[in-house]
Every structure is written in C-alpha cells, then in structure tokens.
C-alpha cells in the first residue's frame, strides 16, 4: 500500500503557545489549530458559522483537498448561493484537536522530547477539548458570538458541546445525525476498528514511525468496517447488489475461491486503501476514544437536558430514516432533552435510504432544511 505521509503539506493554522488545559488535567502546550475560512466576516462580526467535521473529515470543507485532490467534503452544501451561503455567512472549519491535518495530534513532536512524536502517549482528549481548541481560534478572530454551529455525526457532538459549554456564544445550533451520548453499539464498532489496528504487525505498539512503517492493513480494515456502518442495506444493494467481477490482483484463475470478487468488496477495499494515505492510525484511536467518552449527561446524573437549562440557542436537530448508526430514536432523545430545558427546538427526520452518510450526499429535503433553518435564525438574529 501507498505509504506517503501527508506531513509535508503546510496547513493554514493558528498557534497558541500557552496551550490549553485538557479535561484529563494535562496541560497541552503549544496547541496548533489548522483551519479554513470561506466567505467574509461582516463588520459587526455577527455572521460567523463554525462547521464541525466528523471522525475522518477535516478543515477542507468546500475546496479541493490538497492531499486527495477531491472536492471538499461538504462542497455541495457550503459555497456561494448554497444552503450554507458564503455570500452571506463567514464559515470557519477547523481540524479537530487530535487530528492529523495540521492541528495538534499524536503525529506531532512532543515538546518534552524533541524529535519524538507523541504517538500513543498523546493525552486522551474529549469532544469538549476539541471545542475549546476551536474557541481559541474563534476568540482570536475577534468573534464574540457565533451565528451558528453546524455539524454531522461527531461534528454534531461538537455542535452540542459548543452549545452546552459556551451557551452565550451560540445563537443557532444544528446537530445532524448525532446523539446526546455515544451508544454502546457505536463504542463496540469503534472497539473493533481499534482492535484491527492493534492486530496489524506494523503497529509496533503504536511506535510505527520508528520502523518507517504504518499499520496500513489494520487502519484499512478499521475503515472498511466503519464504512459499512455509514451506509444502509438499501444503499449497498442499490449501488452493488450481488454483482461480481474478476479480481485484478488475484493471479489464480477465475475458478479459484477468490478469483472473482463482489463489487461491494472491491469498493470497501478501495475505501480502506485510500483512507490510509490521508489518516494517521494514532489519530484514529485518539478521536474514536473522544467519541466514546461523549455523554452530555455525564456530569449531570445522566440527564442530558441539564447543560441546556436557560439556553437561548435555537436548535435544529436532523436525523435520517435509514441511519442505523445514529438512529432517529437517539435524535429524539436529544430533542426531548432539549424540550425538558424548554429550548427552542426544531426536529426533522429526513426520508433517505442512504444511511448515516446521507448528510454528506444529495438530499434535497435536507438542503432545504439547512437553508430554511439558517435563514429563519438569521431573521431572528437580525443579520443580513
């Protein structure tokens, strides 16, 4: 497999030498946050939207990705005239803390041992730590109130954490395809992903860089497994059905056991191998762990409504009918928690057969929902 590491790309970033105290108590310094912005910040600095990316996303939201050469992960949603309209809003997207696209993460050199990356010694981080790192950038940009925070999946967790931790700073919040806590089933999936990485002989106890190796097989298997959870049976059937083709990499004849492969297998292998070119295994472990820890009610006797008591944020929760990773039942738990806090909540379930990934794909009802919610909120916030 291709073993190029993307470290040589210089990502636009802000550096905070004083760092930040993590929830685990560790003082992480310095802290670097890589970010991209789209659109123009208004003179009143009141039109900023933070878009939070999901587990394997990054800050390249609406432009060609410098590493993969592919369009930004939400370029169909964010841009001039699009639902998140950059003619109107100033959009900020930041690589999460613990990530591997320019923000401080396990691949960075640790300050106390020059030349040595953090690796598995990178301190455990939480969704709230990610959000607090993002706030450093928002503060540095001179923005005292965000018009909106929007994100799907793990991005939705960050949206909720933004609204819970900095309630006065978030006028509108759009948590999409997410949950008030990471479910046991989802922790289980993450654990299988992690075990796949650990089981790779190239893992080398997490110090794979010393051998000039990366646990590409393990990371690819992790991605393949996770990718299944992002789709739905209907979507897989529609895209691949039971179609087979000759395996170009198998030297044995078509009559051998694996001489032919199903198209769905070929697709997953492609997903796995392209993923390892852009993602660091230790980052994957750090971020999946942060998701597992996520529980809005953890500090409140298990009541996820308590962080939102007295909130003035306008919420719009979105789920998708065929999403079985973050199903509507979990979105409804979130909606009811916000009801208990008497928050202003919209809650829409979009009819889609595309599974969890629907929020990244072409769903006209979803586009209308995003556009309408933001326009309505802008009217209430009295901004252009």
């Amino acid at each position: 497999m291709d073993q190029t590491t993307p470290a040589h790309i210089e990502h636009a970033h802000m550096l905070f030498p004083e760092g930040m105290q993590l929830e685990c108590g560790f003082l992480l310094a310095p802290v670097r946050v890589a970010y991209r912005t789209y659109g123009t910040l208004s003179a009143a600095r009141d039109n900023a939207i933070v878009v939070c990316h999901a587990l394997t996303g990054d800050q390249y939201l609406a432009e060609t990705h410098p590493l993969t050469g592919k369009p930004g992960w939400w370029s169909r949603m964010v841009g001039p005239g699009l639902p998140i309209d950059t003619d109107r809003f100033f959009v900020i997207c930041m690589n999460v803390l613990g990530g591997c696209m320019g923000s401080t993460g396990p691949r960075d050199p640790r300050p106390d041992m020059p030349g040595e990356p953090w690796g598995t010694d990178f301190p455990p981080i939480t969704i709230r730590d990610m959000v607090r790192a993002q706030k450093l950038v928002v503060d540095a940009l001179g923005i005292s109130r965000l018009f909106a925070v929007v994100g799907g999946s793990m991005g939705g967790m960050q949206v909720l954490e933004w609204a819970a931790t900095f309630p006065g700073m978030v006028f509108a919040a759009m948590p999409i395809a997410t949950s008030p806590f990471h479910s046991a089933q989802n922790i289980a999936f993450n654990e299988v992903s992690r075990q796949a990485i650990f089981a790779d002989p190239e893992w080398h106890g997490g110090r794979y860089w010393e051998q000039g190796a990366i646990p590409a097989r393990g990371l690819a298997v992790a991605r393949m497994m996770a990718h299944i959870t992002y789709l739905s049976e209907e979507a897989l059937t529609r895209k691949f059905g039971r179609r087979v083709r000759r395996d170009p990499y198998n030297q044995a004849g078509a009559m051998s056991l694996f001489g032919e492969i199903f198209e769905v297998e070929s697709y997953l292998r492609h997903q796995g191998s392209s993923f390892v070119r852009r993602f660091d295994a230790n980052s994957y472990l750090t971020i999946t762990r942060a998701m597992d820890y996520f529980d809005l009610g953890a500090d409140h006797d298990g009541d996820p409504s308590r962080p939102f008591h007295g909130t003035r944020t306008r919420f719009c929760i979105v789920s998708f009918t065929s999403d079985w990773l973050f199903p509507t039942s979990q979105a409804r738990l979130l909606a009811r928690a916000l009801n208990r806090a008497a928050a202003n909540v919209s809650f829409v379930e979009i009819d889609s057969d595309k599974g969890h990934d629907a929020f990244l794909l072409d769903e006209p009802d979803f586009d209308r929902t995003v556009r309408g919610f933001l326009s309505g909120a802008a009217e209430h916030a009295r901004i252009g």
Binding site: A342, F347, D365
Partner: protein
C-alpha cells in the same frame, strides 16, 4: 390563515411564548412571530409539514400531543394551542392536563359533535352521521374521541379549568352568533374554541 386561526391569534397577548400542537403548515406560528412578536414554536406529526415549516425558518419539531408534551417543564409557555385535534388524540383528558401544566393558558378548538345536523342524521338514518365537518366514514376516521361543547364544558368543570373565553365558529372559521347560550352553540356551532386556565392562578 384560516379565520378561526385569526380568532386564536386574537386570544394571544403579544410577546408571549406559544406552543402550537399540530402546527400544520405553520401559518399560525408565522403570523404570531411576525405580527405579535411571539416566541412561537410548533409540534407536528406529519413529517412533510415539519420539513416544509423548518425550511421556511419556523421552529417546528416532529412529535404529537400524546407523547411529546410530557417532556416540557411546567409553565414553559404562556399559551399552548391545540387546533381541531383534541378529538383525534389517544387520551384527550391527559393531553389537556399536560397543556395546562406546561402552559399558563390552553387554547383548544374542536369540531362539535352536538351540531343539529349530526343529531338529525343519526336519528333519521340510524347510521353514523357524515357532514362537511365529519366527512370520513367511521372505519377510517382519525377522530376517535368526538365530543360536544357541553361534554367539553363538563370535563373542564371536573378538571377544575376556568373558561376565560369561548366561542362557537362555523366550518369556515366565521364566528357564529351563539355567544351567550352554550345550549344554542352546542346545537348550531360547527367548531368550538376555548381559552382555558387552571383554577387558582
């Protein structure tokens, strides 16, 4: 907006917090926000209506009167509105209790099953009456708890609700002239509209 919705809006003081259960296309919410400066939110069971409302910038959540009111705190709203839906909920008495728990006032409209045409049709044909208001056959109707204006008044008395205002309305939402006599309203009113609060407040 229907005329009876205008009558509902007239019962609501400007700048208050309103929950509209069964907000439909969101017309009342939009009106209350734009003309009354209300913090008006909706609950709607039909997902297409929810999506359409949110796409118009209105705060509406998917849910229904029977299952979603229990999650709001006491007196979260100044008014809780239930339009033409009471007869279709699973537990009307419980829904009213929840409305007057989470709201300081409840505004309830419902089709009057005491209307003379219904009485006459049942008497003469011996079959379930069908009218312009009650237009679905018995085996298909979502209206599982029809009541008359008098029935509703009795329930309010039992539950200790104060009727602050009431009126009978015809199907098009025009205010009917039977304002004084409940018995006449019960005979000639097609739709009833009540503004309630709990006793002792």
């Amino acid at each position: 907006m229907r005329l009876d919705q205008r009558l509902i809006a007239d019962m609501i003081r400007p700048g208050t917090r309103v929950l509209d259960i069964g907000s439909g296309d969101g017309a009342l919410l939009d009106y209350l926000f734009r003309t009354r400066g209300c913090d008006a939110r909706g609950i709607e069971i039909d997902m297409r209506e929810v999506t359409r409302s949110v796409a118009h910038g209105l705060p509406v959540m998917h849910g229904d009167a029977d299952h979603d009111l229990a999650h709001y705190p006491d007196e979260a709203f100044d008014y809780v509105v239930l339009q033409r839906t009471l007869q279709a909920v699973e537990r009307p008495r419980e829904v009213l209790r929840q409305m007057l728990r989470i709201g300081r006032h409840a505004i309830v409209s419902f089709p009057n099953f005491g209307h003379w045409q219904l009485r006459l049709k049942l008497l003469t044909s011996g079959r379930m009456p069908m009218t312009a208001v009650w237009h679905t056959p018995w085996y298909q109707t979502p209206n599982i708890h029809p009541c008359t204006i008098l029935d509703f008044l009795m329930l309010c008395r039992e539950e200790g609700y104060v009727v602050e205002q009431w009126m009978a309305v015809d199907e098009d939402g025009e205010r009917a002239p039977w304002r004084r006599s409940i018995r006449l309203a019960n005979l000639f009113g097609e739709q009833a509209l009540f503004l309630l609060r709990r006793r002792g407040r």
